[in-house]
Structures are given as C-alpha cells and as structure tokens.
C-alpha cells in the first residue's frame, strides 16, 4: 500500500528480504521464544501461560496487552476451542495482526503538492536521521523533496541535516541555531510551494512530552505551516525509539494531543530492540506504523505494512 503510494522503489522480494533481516532480532526475541515455550507441550497450563506472559512482557508489549492476549487464550481453553499448545502461536499471530491492521490507513493525498510531513518526538529518537533517510527514499523514487531544518535548538542539528541533504542531493531550508523554528517552517512552506516540491519534510527539535512550553511550540509550528499551506502538515510522524518502554504510550498520547500525530516511525528496530510498545500504541491510540528503521544505512528505512510485517515475523 505504502510502496505503491510512493512508487515501488525496490522490488518486492528485495524489500521483504531486507525486512526479514532487519527484524531478525524481534523474530528471535518474540516468535522463537513463543515457539520455545509451547514446544513439546501438549497441555495449556498455568506454567505455560506464565512463560508466555514473560515472553510478551519482555518484548515491551505491556502488561495490559499481554494480559489481554493471555485472557483470549484462557477463554478459548475454557470453552474448549483450543486445547493444544501448538495452537497458541497461531492465536498470538492473529491477535497481533488484528491489532496492527486495525490502525492501518493510507497516507494522506493532496490535490496540489507539496505534501508536508513533520517529524516529532523525544530527544534521541532519531528524527534527524529519519528525515534524511525518508528524503533520500522519496528522492530515489523520483520525487522532489525539500527538507526544513526546524530543529534550531540542538547544537549542530542543522549541520547534521545539511549532511543528509548533501548526500541525498535534496534542497534544504535552514536558518541559524537559536532562530525561531516557526520562521524556518514558514520559509520552507513558501519555498516548497514556489518550487512545486512533491514533499516537504520538517525536522523538529526533540522534546519530552511533559514539557508544556515545548509542546505549545509544536502547536505553533503546525499553525504556521497551515497559514501558508492549508491542512499542512498533512502527516505528522512520531519518531519512536524501538527500545522505548511503556513511556512510549505517554509519548504517543501527548504528541497526538499537541502535535496531531498521524503515524509512527519505529527506529532502531535492528539491535535486540523489540518495539512491543508500538503494538500497545497501535491498540490504544489507533495510530498506524508508517515506517520502520532497521539499520544505519540510508536504505534501511522501510515502509511498514502489517500483513508483511507479521508474515516476516511468524512465517
């Protein structure tokens, strides 16, 4: 779905391979462990359920989602719908797929370009890197991209984005450190429209979601964008570090409130990262996962599709 929207840059098989290798650790940490738990067991008993709980919780899925999954299993066992441990894997697969698919929806389309995407998130989640990679990805797909360096706070953030702009050969709108991020956005909106760029991607400064004034600044930045291009930013991506624990939910909640988040980019999913909190977010806030970052290379940002993702994890 996403790859068709952006024009399929990579051959399907190639993409699937990269996805598979990128989420290998998740597969090993979650699915293989579930298999270990149920392997060679017939009966579904309390011990087995406790081990399952352990597996789900250590994947950062959260106590509540884990409890929900276990409850589903328990109910089915009680009603004699399931009796064999080997069926558990399928039940979990189905549950996760349902949760992830339920929040999926196509990217916004615009009648007249540019489509404006804004990156938001806490410090160190990987916003600048994701901005650079996404720009490069879209550029490779034949789209024209303009980047806006609206992180005017962090030391050398502008320089960092400039390096990405040089690498991807995209245009960049920037001012100096300490300048007003809304001013940068204003310029970028005008430039994007004048140059008829297909996309404008805005990098913003990292902020912790409990800082009222910084969240208010985010609202102002959105208002500024909308003053030049109505409805902009069309998409707001919350960049979320896959190693984040249960605080990820609070991030998603508050950034959605002030930042109007429309989707999640899950970064650093290669590591031993598990990203289970994204499932909790999809479930509780109904936000689709748009992209996943599975490596340091510029091509390691992959579009997310629930079906493909779950298939790569389980099959």
């Amino acid at each position: 779905m996403l790859s068709s929207l952006f024009g399929s840059g990579d051959g399907g098989g190639n993409l699937l391979e990269r996805l598979k290798s990128g989420i290998e650790k998740t597969r090993a940490g979650l699915v293989s462990k579930i298999e270990d738990v149920v392997h060679g067991k017939k009966e579904i008993d309390a011990d087995l359920l406790e081990e399952l709980e352990y597996t789900l919780i250590t994947a950062d899925i959260g106590v509540r989602t884990a409890t929900e999954i276990l409850e589903t299993i328990r109910q089915r066992v009680d009603r004699h719908l399931v009796s064999d441990a080997s069926e558990i894997r399928g039940l979990i697969r189905q549950h996760l797929l349902e949760v992830l698919s339920a929040s999926e929806r196509p990217m916004v389309r615009v009648d007249a370009p540019p489509l404006v995407i804004m990156m938001v998130g806490v410090n160190g989640a990987g916003k600048t890197t994701t901005t650079g990679k996404l720009a490069r990805r879209l550029q490779d797909e034949g789209k024209s991209v303009l980047m806006a360096a609206a992180d005017t706070f962090r030391a050398a953030a502008i320089e960092q984005l400039q390096v990405w702009a040089d690498r991807a050969e995209t245009d960049i709108i920037k001012q100096t450190q300490g300048s007003d991020p809304s001013a940068v956005i204003f310029d970028a909106m005008q430039a994007g429209r004048a140059r008829k760029s297909d996309f404008v991607i805005i990098d913003t400064a990292g902020r912790l979601q409990n800082k009222e004034h910084l969240m208010a600044e985010l609202e102002k930045m959105r208002r500024t964008a909308a003053r030049v291009i109505p409805d902009a930013p069309h998409e707001v991506f919350l960049v979320l570090d896959a190693t984040t624990g249960q605080n990820g939910l609070e991030q998603a909640r508050k950034f959605t409130e002030s930042g109007g988040v429309t989707g999640i980019v899950l970064t650093k999913l290669d590591g031993t990262a598990k990203g289970g909190v994204a499932i909790a977010i999809a479930r509780e806030l109904n936000l689709p996962i748009r992209y996943i970052g599975v490596g340091e290379k510029v091509t390691d940002l992959l579009p997310f599709n629930a079906e493909t993702y779950i298939a790569s994890l389980f099959d």
């Binding site: 919780i57 950062d60 953030a157 409990n210 624990g245 605080n247 598990k274 509780e284």
Partner: protein, 471 residues
Amino acid sequence: MSVCLLMFDNLSDKLQRVFKNLRGEGKLTAENMEAALREIRVALLEADVHFKVVKQLIEAVKEKALGQEVLASLSPAQQVVKIVNEELIKTLGTHASRLRFANEPPTVIMIVGLQGSGKTTSSAKLARWLSKNQHAPLLVSVDVYRPAARDQLAVLAKQLALPIYTGTAEETKPLELAKSARREAVQTGRDVILIDTAGRLHIDDALMAELAELKETFQPTEILFVADAMTGQDAVKSAEQFHKQLGITGIILTKMDGDARGGAALSIRSITGQPLKYIGLGEKPDAFELFHPDRVANRILGMGDVLSLIEKVEETIDKKQAEEMQRKLIDNEFTLTDFRNQLKQIRKLGPIGDLMGMMPSLPGMGGGMMKELKNAKVDEKELNRVVAIIDSMTPKERENHMIINGSRRRRIAKGSGTSVEDVNNLLKQYTQARKMMKAFSGTLSGQGFLGKKLSKLGKLPSLGDLGNFKF
C-alpha cells in the same frame, strides 16, 4: 482511554484501595498481601523494570513482610510500600557513588552507550560538573560516524566555555583523536579527559571492538554507560552486553526530567552490579545531578520525588519569609505583594512542571486534587505577565485589592501591557488563591504517612494552589 489513565494511577492510591478492608488486621499474611503484591508487580512492570528483576523483588518483599506486625502508625498498605521501597533502595545502592580518579593524571573517562541515549549532552554536562568541582576537564568527541556529532560537542563546549580538543579534518580515527587529546591534556595541564564515543548497538561487533581498543590504549578509570530513562525491557540486554564486553564502571541515567518512571535504572543496576552515578534532568547544562537511590526508588514506585522536592524548596525559599507567609495566610492578610513574592520564589524553583512531577500523592488528600495539581498548566510566560500586572499597581492597591476600581484597572492594564480582562482575571485568581491556600495549609497539618516529611511543605502553601490557576 480509561485504561491509559489507570496506568498512571498512583501506586499508593491503588494500594490504599487494596488494603481498604484490611484495617484492624494485626499481621501481614500471604493472603492479605496477595492483592497488594499483584498491584506492586504491575506497577513495577509498567515502570519498565525487567520481568526477572520484578520477580526477585516480589519474592524478597514477600519474605520480608510475612508475619510482620503492622506498626501502629502505618496502615498495612503503607507498611508494604515501606518494605518495597527499602528493597528498591537496596537494589539501587544505598548511597550516592562518586567518580574515581587516576592516581596519576590525566584521568580518562569514556562515555559509551546506544544511539540517542544522550552521550554528547551528558559529556558536556559532566565536563561542566567536573570543572565546577575543582577539576580541569578536556572534552574530545571520537564520534566520527554520525553526521555533525563532533560539531555538536564543539558547539556545546563553546557555549559552556569548556576546553575541547576538536582535532583536524584529517583526524578521522577515534584512536588518533583520543591520543591527540591526551597529548593536549598533558601539555595544558588538564586532569580529566572525557571521551565522547559514537552511539552503537551492543551487537555491532566492529564498533564494540573499537571501544575495546580505546579501553586497552587509555586504561580509563571510568567507563560510564549512558542509559535513557525511557528504555523498556531491552535495557538489561544492552547494558549486560556493554558490561560484558567493556566492563562498565558506572551508569548515567538521562532524560529523567521526562515522565518515564525509570524502571530501567533498577534493571541495569541489578544486572550489571555497577552503580548509577549521575542523572540527566534536562537540556540545560546544569540539569545534571549525582544519583540518589532513595529518590529514584520513590519515583519508580510512583510516589513522587518527595525528598528532592523538599531539598529544592529548602534551598530556594527563605525559611523566615515562608513562616511569615503562613502566619499571614492564616490571618487572611495575604496581599497582592505577598502573592507576587510567592510567584517570584516559585520561578526560582525552576519550571513548574518539574516541581509538580516531584509531588507525591498525599494519602490524606483527595486524589482529584492531586491530579489537578499534576496536570496544572502553568505557563512561565504567564507567570511573568502576572508579575508585570502586580508591578504596575501602586503599593496601596497591592495592600488592599478592594480599592482597584474600573479606572485603576485600565491604568494597570496599560502600565503592564495587558488588557483589563487580564487584570480582572488576575484579581479573580488572587481572591480564589487566598481561599484555596488557606484550605491547603489546613490540609497539610494532618500527619499522614508522608505527612511527616511533607509537614515542611506546609510553609509553602502557594505550591498547592498553583494547580488551580487558569491563567
């Protein structure tokens, strides 16, 4: 959404409910503790403490609590919380841990960790902390991978007027850079070298080998692992691997100014056995403190950082003035001048959001009020505006707000660059505040579980009232 809200429900509130029917029972038993332990387990897991660590903790608490007499002054809930708290502190380490320095300077400190955990910011903060504590640090970034990483440290160093070895464009190898930095440190008489390394995943063998080489060459007295307080269950794995491959000597926990409960601290400490040394509390260079186990324990349990708050308040507020204030409140003599002084003192305490996050729930107080307090939206700019309005009043007006009529209001609005509506609002809030503060100072005189600690706060009635401002 109700589920989400529940999640951040305070543990002591929950326990209060669990133990509601337990008053009068003399001893903690396996049965009467079961529900409480379940709540504690969920609270710890939701604070991102690792599953295994939680299990150990619960076992330890059970063992310790069984058969204990419930102390007369505590409710069973409080007694269990007390035991859990003690166990948490035991795990986190009982005292603040200091840095070690080499016998022969320069001391080398390596800063390592995953991408985005806050290594560069922490390096700069630590350098500043050292230079304030009779050391002469030299910074060097050997992050040759992330675009502009070296620039970032250079900019920070310049802002803070800290010495840094930036190297030349040709120097692109971490080892070379660090060697040159050491030469420079020796020549310029610097006694500590802080090496900011590139973020890496613990499974990246090539990059881990690079760190091992740096360690081999420089024999650092400290290798500090920088961990993000928001990290989930995976925290143990990365910390464990870094420790196994490098032998870390301490931990810096960053982004503690957020609303994460920081359970990762407990997991990392418990898995590596290495002490937490510092915490990062914000983007400002001074937002960096020695780690205090007891405070983080309270936070993981969701009990607020009472001690930190008390300390901060004591540091900032003039005690005599506070006592005077309380007397005035009780006698209803709280004038607009006092109101302004209070606001100014509150501003000295730092961002109000920080302060509210440190407040625990008070058992004796309605949960609703505490929630309101924590969710209070107090804009610093608005605070400034309020102070400006009061500054535009005559001394007489400040002493007696009743005389401020329409034409006075217009004058005040003009003088402070605000509108009459703003002035009206302020006066309304002031009269409400007077009422509220009086009520609040009364509430705090009761001695609950935390009441003893908090009785000191009774001198600070305005804190409680802030929650009710809608500027």
